[in-house]
Structures are given as C-alpha cells and as structure tokens.
C-alpha cells in the first residue's frame, strides 16, 4: 500500500477502518437487505449474473479511469469512445472483415483516442476535463458519420463471444474480463512502482517531477490505457446489443465517474482505491437493479442514486476533516 495514499487517507490513529472498508460493509448490508426485501427475484442467478454482465463494461472502464483520476486528470470522452468503437466495429463487420481483426482495429482505435487525449493533456497542456469533453463530441460525431446516425447490426462469432459468450458454459466472458482488469489494476496500483508514481503525481505533481518521476509519461500512458479499455467496453456493449449505434455510451461517463467517486477517489487526485471503485460501481448497479425490481420509477431511482453519492462523499469529507483535526 503506498505510503502517500495511506497518509493522506488515514492521518488519524483513531480511524481504524478505511473508507473502502466502510463501503464494502455498506455493500454487504445493502446486498443482504435487497436479497431479503427483493425476494424471490433479486437473489437469483437469473438476476445477478446478467446484472454483473451488464456492469462489466462499466467496471473495466471505471478501474482504469481510477488510475487516470488518481493522477488528478479525468477522461470525459469514454462515452464517445464507446459510441465510436461500437460504430467502427459494426461498420468494419459490414465491410466483411473477420471478427478478430475488427477487435484488433477497434482496440487500436481506442488506443489512438486515448493517446490523443493524453497528448492534449500532457504535451499541449489543455485541462483534461476540457480536452476530453471536446474529444467526447468528436468521437461521437465520427460515430454518427460512420453509421449515418443509424444503428447497424454487429453480428459475428468473435464479437458475440466478447459480450455474450460463456466460459465452461456458465461464466459469462465479460465477467471474466471484468475480473482480470480489476486484478491487473489492483496489482498495478497497490504493488508496483507505477502505482506509487500515480499516487505521488496525484498528491503533488511538482514534487513527483523533482523526485525523478516522468509525470507526463505516466499520465499519457494512463490515458492510453483508458482509451483501450473504453474501446473494450464499447465492444462488449456492441456484443450485448448486437448493434453498433452512435448513441451507445451516451451519459455513461457520468455513471462511471459517479461509481469511481463513490468508491472514494478524489476528483483532485492523490486519493483512490481500485477496490473502492469496485464497491462504488457495484453499489450503483445494485441500487438500480433492486429499485427496478421493486417497480420504482426511474426518476426516483435517479434521486436515490444521486442521494447515495452525495451522502457517501459527504461522509468521506467529514471523516477526513475530523481525522485532520486529530492530527
């Protein structure tokens, strides 16, 4: 566990349980409560597996975006990236390209999108929020151009498998990707020098630079990885819907960022945990699933999700300020 992160999150000795720990307790309590209240529908394989499947593409993007956000940057173009990737994949399939090649090109496209964001944020020096809001429109616009604004069928065994395939006939493939990406990002963030650099940059970029960390390189590669995973998310969504459409991913950037912030990542950088992101995205997904099962109207679901986000983030801030007072 990086020292910088630990010191910034838990400065007081009395704070025995971390924010991530609390979040997981909340997650378990909610899960138990929803299972009881939402019986017999909520706690069933028929509900939970598709829920995780639908969460997978959000989760994998959230995991890598956490790395970007911990460095103090942000990527709002992920939704546009998803839309463009979906259209690109469907377009290439319609031209008769084999599925595996479409996957490679789509992921390469994601890398280009991520690299462009990284270039704008690190080389040109544009604020990443502004830069990626701009590129979000660009990616989606290209998606609309590619597809003529229409949805295009994207049916191919390889593409189908990415979102709807099963391993050992029971484990959905997207869930496997979800677990792999989370495991990789967890290792990177918590056990590698790269992860320590990410936390250091987020806490104090100047001090990190002076201590020999290549700040621009770390940020650039994070954006690049974020672009690739957003494209992977786009491919999963394309597969889940069997359709490539420019509207895919619209508004998802806010859903994903909400999950990350709920997980304890600070928008200013320097703070954040992959496990927190996992818990945050799971909580939002569970809330939507449970409330829909309970026939709650969408407006109320939005109110509840928003309220939970505000409540949890406010709790973090209160705990943080109390801990600082104790120092």
């Amino acid at each position: 566990m990086p020292e910088i992160k630990a010191s910034s999150m838990e400065p007081g000795k009395k704070a025995k349980i971390s924010n991530t720990g609390i979040l997981f307790i909340v997650l378990v309590v909610l899960f138990a409560l929803f299972s009881y209240v939402g019986r017999p529908f909520f706690f069933s394989v028929l509900n939970l597996i598709p829920m995780l499947n639908n969460l997978s593409f959000i989760g994998i993007i959230a995991a890598v975006l956490t790395m970007v956000m911990v460095t103090g940057e942000i990527d709002f173009s992920i939704g546009g990236n998803i839309g463009l990737t979906a259209c690109l994949a469907a377009f290439l399939l319609s031209k008769g390209l084999p599925g595996w090649l479409v996957v490679v090109i789509a992921l390469f496209g994601g890398a280009v999108m991520g690299a462009f964001n990284g270039f704008l944020a690190t080389v040109v020096g544009v604020n990443s929020m502004i830069a990626t809001i701009g590129t979000m429109f660009i990616w989606r616009g290209i998606g609309y151009t590619l597809s003529n604004g229409e949805s295009m069928l994207a049916i191919n065994p390889v593409i189908d498998f990415i979102g709807r395939g099963f391993i050992f006939k029971v484990i959905p493939f997207p869930i496997v990707i979800f677990i792999i990406i989370f495991a990789l990002t967890y290792v990177v963030m918590n056990l590698s020098k790269w992860g320590r650099s990410i936390y250091a940059i987020g806490t104090n970029p100047m001090a990190s630079y002076l201590s020999g960390i290549n700040v621009k390189k770390v940020k650039f590669i994070n954006f690049l990885l974020c672009g690739i995973t957003a494209s992977l998310g786009g491919l999963i969504l394309t597969s889940l819907s069997a359709v490539g459409m420019p509207q895919h991913g619209q508004g998802l950037e806010l859903v994903i960022i909400s999950g990350i912030v709920l997980g304890g990542t600070a928008l200013g950088g320097g703070k954040g945990q992959i496990l927190g992101t996992l818990a945050g995205t799971l909580i939002l997904s569970l809330l939507y699933n449970f409330l829909t099962i309970m026939n709650v109207y969408y407006y109320y679901i939005q109110i509840v999700q928003g309220a939970v986000l505000v409540l949890v983030v406010a709790t973090y801030e209160i705990r943080q300020s109390r801990a600082l007072k104790r120092v």
């Binding site: 069933s44 509900n47 949805s151 189908d160 498998f161 495991a183 819907s241 509207q247 508004g251 109207y297």
Partner: protein, 386 residues
C-alpha cells in the same frame, strides 16, 4: 526483475492465452462454448433479419377461426368494463416503457395499468421499467424483467435491431412478447400503421398546400426521420412523402424533399438536426414539415424560431401522435394538424393481446390503433378542454 513485474507479466500472459484459447475464430477446434455463442448469433441473425418482415410472415398465419378470445377481451376493453372471468388473475405482466415522463408514453402506461385492473390482474404483478430512450438501459431492463419471469412482456423499446436480442432472450425463456410501435422480431405488433398515418398526414398537408396555390409555391418538404427505429418506423415519414408523390409526381416532389435524421425521438436531438437543415436551405420560406412525434416537433419548431424564420402562415406542419404536447401545439396554432394515435387507448389492445397470450390463444400479428386527423376546429371534440 521485481516480483510485481513478474506477477503482472504472468497475469497478462494468462489473460492473453486464455482469450486466444477461447475466442471463436482464434482456434481450430470448436467447443460447446463457441457453439452456444454461435447459436445465439444465429438466433439473433434470424430474428434481426425478420425484424422488418414480421408483418408479411405472421399475417398469413391467421387462424381459420379468427381470434375469438382476443376479440372477446377487446369488447370488454373498448367498453371499459371488467373482462369476463378475470383472465389476468394469477398471471404477471412486464411492461418496459420507451421513455417515462413523455406524455405519450405516460398515457400508454396509464392505459395499460387501467386495463390490467379491468382484466383482474394484480397491480403487484404488473412489472414496470423505463428504457429512457437508451438501448443500454433497455437491455438492462429486459434482463431484470426476465429475472422476474413474467408471463408476457410488452416491449416498448426504440431500436428495432436491439429488439432482436431481447426477442432472443425472451424466446429462450418461452416468454411471449408484444411489441409496441417499434417491431420486435417474431412478436405481434401493436401500435400505429406507420404508412397509413403518414399518408393521412400527407393528405392533410396537401390540403394546405393547395390552399396556398399548389406545390410550386412550396420551397421544401422536410421529413425529420428516426432511422434508428428501423424501416417500419421510417414509414411514418415516407408515407407522407408518398402522398405528395401520388398527388404531384416524383419529378416535382423529389427536388424539394429533404430527409434528415431527427434523432431517437427527443426534442433536443431534433432541435440540433433542424438547425442543420435550416442552414442548408437559407432561402426557404414556405415549407411543409413532419416528424416522428410531437416531442421532436417541439425541438424543431424551437429551432425555426431561434433561427428567426418562424412564420406560422408559411410553415405547414403536421404532427404524429397528438399527445398532450401535440394538443397544445394545435391549440396554440404552432401546428396545422396532427394524426391522433390515442395512446390513452393502447391498453385496450395490449392487455387483451397479453391476456390472450397468457391463455395460449392466438393474437393478431398486427393490432393497429384507430386514428383521426385532429385540427384546431375539431380538437375539442376529441380532447375537451379541462
């Protein structure tokens, strides 16, 4: 090399090897797993291909005896009376709404609820989800509804191609579907006869065109379409065009016709699209206009007004639906007429259809709603002022 790097490399290698080993097309031998995925593909392909041809294929399967059960339920529904023998008792029904909050959709939902009660259905067994004009949410909701194992799904989802996946999933679970307004492969369709209502709208517009001196006085005929709804939904504006072609001939109509993608049915998207259209025809003053629904028409009219080109005398506007927004547009003189779909009566078709499916009784492949042309002169007859 550090332990972490080794661990990372090991994890990456495992991930890549696993992916290559299981991805179809990346190996030579087939497995049950890929076969399952291929089956899904085949099903989706078949259903997707069938999307636009459902009409032709199912119409010919009408049983010799007609639809006595459905018709009996329809009688009760039309009369707003309790259905005989409470046929929905002990059954469950799922309804996924295309977009909650829009008057048209709210009217459909209320009508479904009212009729479900009349059919003896338990309100707790009427499951609801809001698709928010978003295919991703639509798919998520479909999965949640599937987990609740309803006896029938009423699917109101905006993208006909995405509906093929929903049809595949529900088909595998043997849960029948009724599609509302946007086709779902293999499912009975309830809603408007898109070509018919568009043609009616075209004929209504032609009356105004004639009153202005004929087609030569018109600069452009603008069709704000919704390609994402599929070909059947496209008929909602192509029928409008056809009415003009039948009257004046393609040689006169084609040069004046502009087709634009007005988005997926929302005002904001249509507003942007109309702004683009206006910039392409800077000198057009007298135009005929139609769009997919009145929500989009609000955005379109707003775009014309913002561009400073609004003159109600010179814009001939016919809308589709006549929901609360459409009624107000007609009353305010923003639009010349609307083709009423009567969403408040949708439940009178959907619930008899759903109940018939619950009892394994045949249902017509098409349950078209009756329509009427609503103008400022007759609007109070159909929608009395409150």
């Amino acid at each position: 090399m550090s332990k972490t790097k080794l661990l990372l490399i090991l994890m990456l290698v495992v991930a890549v090897v696993t992916t290559l080993a299981i991805l179809p097309g990346c190996k030579t031998t087939s497995t049950a797993t890929t076969a399952a995925a291929t089956e899904t593909t085949a099903a989706a392909e078949t259903t997707a291909a069938a999307t636009e041809t459902t009409a032709a294929t199912t119409e010919s399967t009408e049983p010799a005896g007609g639809y006595p059960f459905y018709e009996k339920m329809r009688e009760a529904a039309k009369a707003n009376k309790e259905y005989p023998d409470a046929p929905a008792k002990d059954f469950s029904l799922a309804f996924t709404n295309i977009m909650g909050g829009i008057p048209f959709c709210e009217n459909v939902w209320k009508s479904v609820q009212d009729q479900w009660k009349l059919a003896g259905g338990d309100p707790n067994k009427l499951y609801y989800a809001d698709n928010q004009y978003d295919a991703t949410i639509g798919l998520k909701n479909a999965d949640i509804m599937l987990a609740k194992k309803p006896n029938v799904l009423i699917n109101f989802q905006f993208d006909s191609k995405v509906n093929s996946i929903i049809a595949t999933k529900f088909g595998a679970a043997n849960i029948p579907i009724i599609a509302v307004d946007v086709p779902t492969p293999g499912a009975p369709f309830m809603g408007v006869n898109n070509f018919k209502v568009a043609y009616m709208a075209g004929q209504e517009a032609i009356k105004d065109v004639e009153a202005m001196g004929g087609i030569d006085k018109i600069d452009n005929i603008i069709l704000m379409q919704m390609p994402s709804g599929g070909e059947v939904t496209m008929l909602r504006s192509e029928g409008f065009y056809q009415a003009f072609v039948d009257k004046y001939g393609a040689d006169k109509v084609d040069p004046k016709t502009i087709r634009a993608d007005g988005g997926a049915g929302e005002a904001e998207q249509a507003n942007k699209a109309m702004t683009d259209v206006l910039s392409k025809i800077p000198n057009a003053k007298t135009c005929v206009l139609t769009s997919i629904n009145e929500e989009t028409m609000s955005g379109i009219i707003s775009a014309i007004q913002t561009a400073g080109r609004w003159d109600p005398e010179k814009w001939i506007i016919i809308t589709q639906g006549v929901d609360a927004v459409g009624q107000q547009q007609i009353r305010d003189g923003l639009t010349d007429a609307g083709i009423a779909y009567f969403p408040e009566h949708y439940g009178e078709y959907l619930i008899p259809g759903a109940v018939a499916l619950m009892h394994n009784q045949p249902v017509p492949a098409f349950m078209y709603v009756e329509n009427a042309v609503i103008t400022k002169d007759n609007i109070d007859q159909y929608y009395p002022k409150k």
